[in-house]
């Protein structure tokens, strides 16, 4: 049921939409159609992908590149790692960002504190690579440790740890960089939402004797929920196509491969496989789309 208020003429909406739709069509939709086409062709983009099948091996015909993208060990590892990133980093950055935004809202040096958390967001990924080199560096010979973490470990009498090449921990090392980079993004957007919560209502609740926990869940949370959902959706998409951090720190070695790094590694030498990975990446957003449509409907029904 569409509210009457929204009926504003037949052509008017398109006047508002047109500039954005044209740009998105030219720069994203049109190339995506090409991407789908290429994903059905071989590495040279001249013949059907089916021609790369060899006798006696499993073959998915024209979808042969998708067989690579869904069954190759390197890709399976990448899919697993992306799932790990999603599970840990999305809640991590959002909870952390929200927690900090709420705390910072109450101190007088708020804008300085927020600037510090925001700072990594402003650093290019080349800069971030260098910064974290000085944290994770390991000296395996006799020399002094110039990486901060290992210097602390050795100073406490421990042994240096290879943070980036030990498959048991390196994914977590990379995720820490991710949280550091993206925490500021979540914090900034959520902070803007918190500013929108009516301060009088909050005060009134506190006067009535509600503790901070109740104030958060009963007043703040419902107001900023739409923003939390927006940030969750955005973070999920960002993590699905996470690339820079992995590329700069390990280039996918030592079991840290992720989907987008695989896609980029193949982009020149095997356009077919690379584009098939891209299409899979797009397909992975379908659940997120469905979730958002549902919420869209519910929200409109409520107003």
């Amino acid at each position: 049921m569409i509210p009457r208020i929204m009926k504003q003429g037949r052509w008017a909406p398109w006047f508002y939409l047109l500039p954005a739709l044209i740009l998105m069509t030219v720069f994203i939709l049109y190339p995506t159609i090409g991407t789908i086409r290429l994903s059905l062709l071989d590495s040279t983009s001249r013949h059907s992908a089916a021609s790369t099948c060899s006798a006696g091996q499993p073959c998915w015909g024209v979808f042969e590149n998708y067989r690579y993208a869904l069954t190759n060990p390197a890709m399976l590892l990448a899919l697993r790692n992306n799932a790990l990133w999603l599970l840990l980093m999305v809640p991590g950055t959002i909870a952390g960002g929200l927690f900090f935004a709420i705390l910072a809202d109450r101190v007088r040096y708020e804008s300085a504190a927020k600037a510090i958390i925001f700072l990594p967001t402003a650093i290019s990924f080349i800069g971030a690579g260098i910064i974290w080199r000085f944290v994770y560096d390991v000296e395996s010979g006799g020399g002094p440790q110039i990486g901060l973490l290992n210097a602390i470990l050795v100073g406490l009498g421990g042994h240096p740890v290879t943070w980036l090449s030990n498959p048991a921990i390196n994914n977590f090392s990379l995720m820490l960089v991710g949280v550091w980079l993206w925490g500021g993004f979540c914090m900034t957007i959520l902070s803007a939402a918190i500013k929108g919560v009516n301060a009088e209502i909050l005060e009134a609740a506190r006067v009535d004797g509600a503790n901070e926990w109740q104030v958060f869940w009963n007043i703040m949370y419902p107001t900023i929920l739409p923003t939390i959902i927006v940030v969750t959706t955005t973070m999920a998409i960002i993590i699905l196509k996470i690339f820079d951090v992995v590329f700069v720190m390990t280039n996918g070695n030592f079991g840290t491969e992720v989907i987008a790094n695989r896609m980029f590694a193949l982009i020149v030498t095997n356009a077919g496989q690379s584009t098939a990975i891209a299409v899979i990446l797009i397909a992975l957003t379908i659940p997120i789309m469905i979730f958002n449509i549902r919420r869209f409907r519910k929200e409109e029904a409520a107003r």
Partner: protein, 464 residues
């Protein structure tokens, strides 16, 4: 947003729009006053490849230059522009510009160089606006863009200045498409002559000698090697793959290596496995290499080099390409070539291993032909050597190098019977990726037989 920040923003927008409008190539005339007030010097405007003519600097002086006679401009008009793509940046790019300076002066051709190491950037360019001439350090453009490249004989390249193996290397399907403009031999081991003298070691001359020397060093309590895979963040193992290839060149020879590149010899041949057996011990045992396997995998390759020449040195030998000498002296300015650091050829190699930057032409317009002709000409070879920009495979470069270290490498290059390209670079993906990852995991203790079997599968994939 309040009014003040709004106003600041509006000013910023206006300035940036103005700047953008002014730096578009069509509006060259109005540039200088807008950009920077200090400019009494040369035009400070970023160069514009698409500018039709409009170079403000007088080019008429060029024709009177004495070198003009030796440089064939192939009928290019003064003021013509060409675009180049190469991977050189920083000081290397400056040296390359020194090589080109006489050419630009003689023909009045404006060279617009762009540097990128990213194959995806190159790919996009080639598929939209290809550069006129490309310099690239591996064969991949030959495979990917063979139909877009001009045969070099048709664009004025001079074959007679190159040893035949250079020509063969750049010939695909009977068409000569690429010629190395710059070569960097890799079959070198860097060491300190004073250190060797103090400890009583001598330079080995055969591979067996090297193995004996390494074991003797270990027995004396010294660490023979310093190795590092880390390539500025990501370990990719190319220094390991160079090492293996030199071992194969010593134990088997260039035909064997070329067999791997051609696909006639599988990568899991017993000879390869034998090389890996030795390498695994050398690269992962802390008695043989600094820091053991962790050191090899995590150390940056330049740091690995420095470790061999620091005070005190952590290792006695580092296997690294010709560029290493320049890096050592940049890091330790007090060290002198010939006494404090020097190199010897990897003992027993039959034919050198090395890398090269290949020149390829996408265009046959006169200015592009003039450049190809210049680089492959006797004058070009001489100027390359004089600019001290690594080594030129051009035979005329001989006798024009100025520093003793380059002269020694140049002599090695001139006397070698063959030049094998790095296997990974020659075969490309997916082999190079599998090879590097295989080496990294073998150093970390993976089983040699099964790992090499996996690399051999990728080798087949690359040849297909």
């Amino acid at each position: 947003m309040n009014t003040r920040s709004m106003r600041i923003f509006a000013v910023l927008v206006a300035v940036s729009m103005l700047f953008a409008a002014c730096t578009t190539p069509t509006a060259t005339a109005t540039q200088a006053p807008v950009v920077v007030p200090t400019a009494t010097t040369a035009p400070v405007v970023p160069t514009a490849t698409t500018a039709p003519v409009a170079t403000t600097a007088p080019v008429a002086t060029a024709t009177t230059a004495p070198a003009a006679a030796a440089i064939d401009c192939k009928g290019a008009a003064s003021g013509d522009a060409i675009t180049l793509v190469y991977q050189w940046t920083g000081a290397e790019e400056q040296s390359f510009n020194t090589v080109l300076k006489p050419f630009e002066d003689a023909c009045g051709i404006k060279v617009n160089g762009q540097s990128t190491r990213d194959a995806a950037v190159l790919d996009t360019m080639v598929k939209s606006t290809p550069p006129d001439v490309l310099f690239w350090p591996d064969f991949s453009p030959l495979k990917l863009y063979a139909d877009k490249l001009q045969p070099l004989d048709s664009v004025g390249a001079d074959k007679s200045n190159y040893a035949p193996y250079w020509i063969t290397m750049g010939t695909v399907g009977g068409k000569w498409l690429a010629i190395p403009a710059k070569a960097d031999p890799k079959s070198l081991i860097w060491y300190s002559p004073t250190q060797f003298a103090a400890l009583g070691y001598t330079v080995p001359t055969t591979f067996a000698d090297l193995q004996t020397l390494v074991d003797k060093m270990v027995a004396d309590g010294h660490v023979p090697w310093s190795m590092g895979f880390n390539n500025g963040g990501a370990a990719d193992g190319w220094t390991g793959s160079d090492f293996i290839q030199d071992m194969l060149l010593a134990s088997q020879g260039p035909d064997f290596v070329n067999g791997i590149i051609a696909g006639t010899t599988p990568y899991n041949d017993p000879a390869v496995a034998a090389a890996y057996q030795i390498y695994q011990k050398w690269a992962s045992d802390p008695k043989y290499t600094v820091g053991g396997a962790n050191g090899t995998v995590n150390t940056k390759f330049l740091d690995a080099l420095y470790k061999g020449f620091a005070n005190p040195p952590e290792a006695l030998m580092v296997k690294q390409s010709g560029f290493a000498g320049g890096e050592i002296v940049k890091q330790f300015p007090n060290l002198k070539y010939g006494t404090d650091y020097d190199f010897f050829q990897f003992p027993g190699v039959k034919g050198l291993q090395g890398g090269a930057d290949f020149m390829m032409a996408f265009s046959n317009k006169p200015a592009a032909m003039a450049l190809v002709a210049y680089v492959t000409s006797a004058t070009g070879g001489q100027n390359w050597a004089k600019a001290s920009f690594g080594l030129s495979p051009n035979m005329s470069s001989k006798g024009n190098y100025t520093d003793p270290q380059t002269i020694k490498i140049a002599d090695m290059l001139a006397n070698t019977t063959g030049f094998t390209f790095d296997m990974g670079d020659a075969l490309g993906a997916p082999f190079n990726d599998a090879e590097w990852k295989g080496i990294v995991s073998i150093v970390q203790g993976a089983d040699i037989t099964s790992t090499l079997a996996g690399v051999a599968t990728a080798q087949k994939g690359s040849i297909k």
